[in-house]
Amino acid sequence: MTAHAGNIPPTALSEEPPEFPMPRASGCPFDPPPPLRERQREGALTRVRLWDGSTPWLVTRYAEQRALMADARLSADITRPGYPSGAPVPPRGNSIGFILMDDPEHARLRRMVTAPFAVKRVNAMAPRIQRIVDELIDAMLAGPRPVDLVEAFALPVPSMVICELLGVPYADHAFFQENSKTIINREVTQEQRSAALGRLTDYLDGLLGEKLRAPQDDLLSGLAERVGGGELTRREAAQMGVLLLIAGHETTANMIALGTLALLRHPEQLAALRDTDDEKLVSGAVEELLRYLHITHSGRRRAVLEDIEIAGETLRAGEGVILANDIGNRDPSAFPGDPDTLDIRRDARHHVAFGYGAHQCLGQPLARLELRIVYGTLYRRVPTLRLAAELEELPFKHDGSVYGVYELPVSW
């Protein structure tokens, strides 16, 4: 850890833990909150205070984050004692699929849906995704200016793709987008979140019923078949469908809009990306933007099951741990040079934007493919694309567990 200057000053440890999540600096919408950088300089582990007064560990350095995320002594189960939840814990049984479960249950359920996300299966979808992207750009170019890129492009691309993969009718997009937005908003009440989750679960349950009667060539039909065969309950299948539907469009949509904004603010990099024939540069830009923007900015959250010694500290069973992967992706010992600079030529492939360990993002081959096609197409087809608002006016998703912009007015 030579890249971190200085050691922990003894006073820092006796300070009151700061509140988490922390605000970003105004005028720096792409950078993690500055106190995270200060804490990272001081050491790999620190304490923070949550809304409920609890003081879980906060892990700020890349190496320790990866070591802990790969450690089975940490639990992703939100109902475990000490789990550092961002809001009151929902009643049992009202859960979003296997993302909040531990092995062996997690592995049993995850393995039922891994096949459609295998790299080759996903890459075979490239022509279809390219067509979706091209048609949305055609429609945008034929329409009025300025336009909100989020609504016209960033949200429809991944929504249409995940609908096809799952077998969800895209005609219902207003319904599921609205409920997804509520579920990942960190400022709604527990009742609002539960109600939205309930509506989506009922909706997926209804679709599973249809697939049971008339199976098609899609992921939900595959799950329905397993329900028919007794491998999983219909409720488990519906919850898995909810997880895939939400995770499959909210995240990628934010990467498209926020990534475009970041590139518009770095015109020389945007030009390099637009003018290249090198597919490696496009895929490098995808990895770098994932690293640099790190949109899942609330941290990965876990409960300690057994004492763990790390970085000179002991994490005790029953304590909470938050892995601040946004600052981990800016750790100078993992990303040498200037980690706070966006550099699409950097080798950023080892970033932790998709997490790490057994819960590492299931949809990453799909997300990467969508982003390669989007970043490789949009700026070429709309070479004069520009922001049609001041940066200061843009509504950023400070209140979401996934970061991004609510609206991105653009023109050309």
């Binding site: 393995r111 891994t114 096949a115 790299v119 080759k120 998709f354 990467r368």
Partner: protein, 64 residues
């Protein structure tokens, strides 16, 4: 170089296939990784080291 893969640990993230497609593939039925070459060619060695470094569950071991 000799490579080994622990399929029981594998969570089908596909990282190894993206890093070293000559050496790793995924099973059709569940996306679990399979090893195509226990002793990869010299030219694939760097990619295999990268695959081992990014595997999220440390399922890939490399002996130089």
């Amino acid at each position: 170089m000799r490579v080994s893969l622990d399929q029981d640990k594998c969570v089908a993230s596909g990282q190894c296939v993206m890093a070293a497609p000559e050496v790793f593939d995924q099973r059709d039925e569940d996306g679990v990784a399979v090893l195509l070459a226990v002793e990869p060619a010299e030219g694939d060695a760097d990619d295999v080291r990268h695959a081992s470094a990014v595997c999220p569950v440390l399922a890939i071991h490399v002996e130089e």
